[in-house]
Amino acid sequence: LSYRILIVDDSPAMQGIIARVIHLCGLAVDKVLKASNGSAALSVLENHPVDLIVTDINMPQSSGEDLVRHLARHERLRSIPVIVVSTDSTDSRVKQMMGLGAKAYLPKPFTAEQLKSTIEQVLGAVHA
């Protein structure tokens, strides 16, 4: 089993860091795709099925919240697990995103080990 993972972040630096951790964490990864906001992510998903989405919230034009809401409305997409990474660690935001269907919420700053562990837990739970 190898995974296709979509990273959604408007920061090229964060896209790179998350991709690096994914490649280093020993997961069997078939492909890492990137998008810079929620609507760009949906465009990617039209042609590329993925096993996991790692998304920021606060992005220009279309946020991570928009993306998670959209995924929840579509039968083909709602089963894709979503990990939210954000500097916003307020309780209300965490509860909101988890309530919308995110499988995990990882506040920034995070260590590579925390991201790795979160990805493994989410993928492990989905494919258990």
Binding site: P12, N58, T87, D91, K103, A104, Y105, Q121, A125
Partner: protein
């Protein structure tokens, strides 16, 4: 540092009591620890302490500014000498040497974004605040702002911030 919340397995952080102080005061108090957490966690750098001088605004630097709006409004700037920024960015990206300026700028912008967002979350845990995409600035300090200087293991970083009246 907050832990991850995982559906069905993790625990959402316990509610944090907010003191009656204005957010701007709590932000000022939380800033040193947040800066230290971000630098040590994601940039593998240490903060020696807050200093009253040692940042040369005439030397080449990168400055990234993040504005925030919502329950509280204002902006925060982070200025860092170019050579220090290059070292931090190399550690951030995993030891890449000879990064292009653009890659260093991205790392500085992300550093500013995380420091600002994390400090606001810690200072106003029940607030709803949106951050803008970080932008580069030509001046090292925001006009009319509070300026704080921090000594790193190799260099210094300047943080300036201002809040609209609450």
């Amino acid at each position: 540092m907050p832990s991850a919340s995982i559906s069905g397995a993790g625990v959402v952080d316990a509610p944090r009591k907010a003191a009656a102080k204005p957010v701007s005061e709590r932000f000022a108090g939380n800033l040193p620890k947040c800066l230290e957490d971000v630098l040590s966690t994601m940039f593998f750098a240490g903060v020696i302490g807050e200093i009253s001088g040692g940042f040369d605004p005439d030397a080449p630097f990168f400055c990234a500014v993040v504005s925030f709006s919502g329950s509280v409004n204002g902006e925060m700037g982070l200025a860092i000498p170019m050579d220090v920024a290059a070292d931090l960015a190399a550690d951030f990206y995993g030891g890449d040497e000879g990064l292009e300026d653009r890659a260093v700028e991205y790392a500085v912008c992300e550093l500013a974004n995380i420091v600002c967002g994390a400090t606001l979350s810690r200072s106003a845990p029940s607030a709803h605040v949106e951050l803008t995409h970080p932008r580069l600035a030509e001046e090292p300090f925001l006009a009319g702002s509070q300026v704080r200087l921090f000594e790193l293991m190799d260099g210094a970083v300047a943080l300036s911030y201002r809040f609209d009246p609450e």
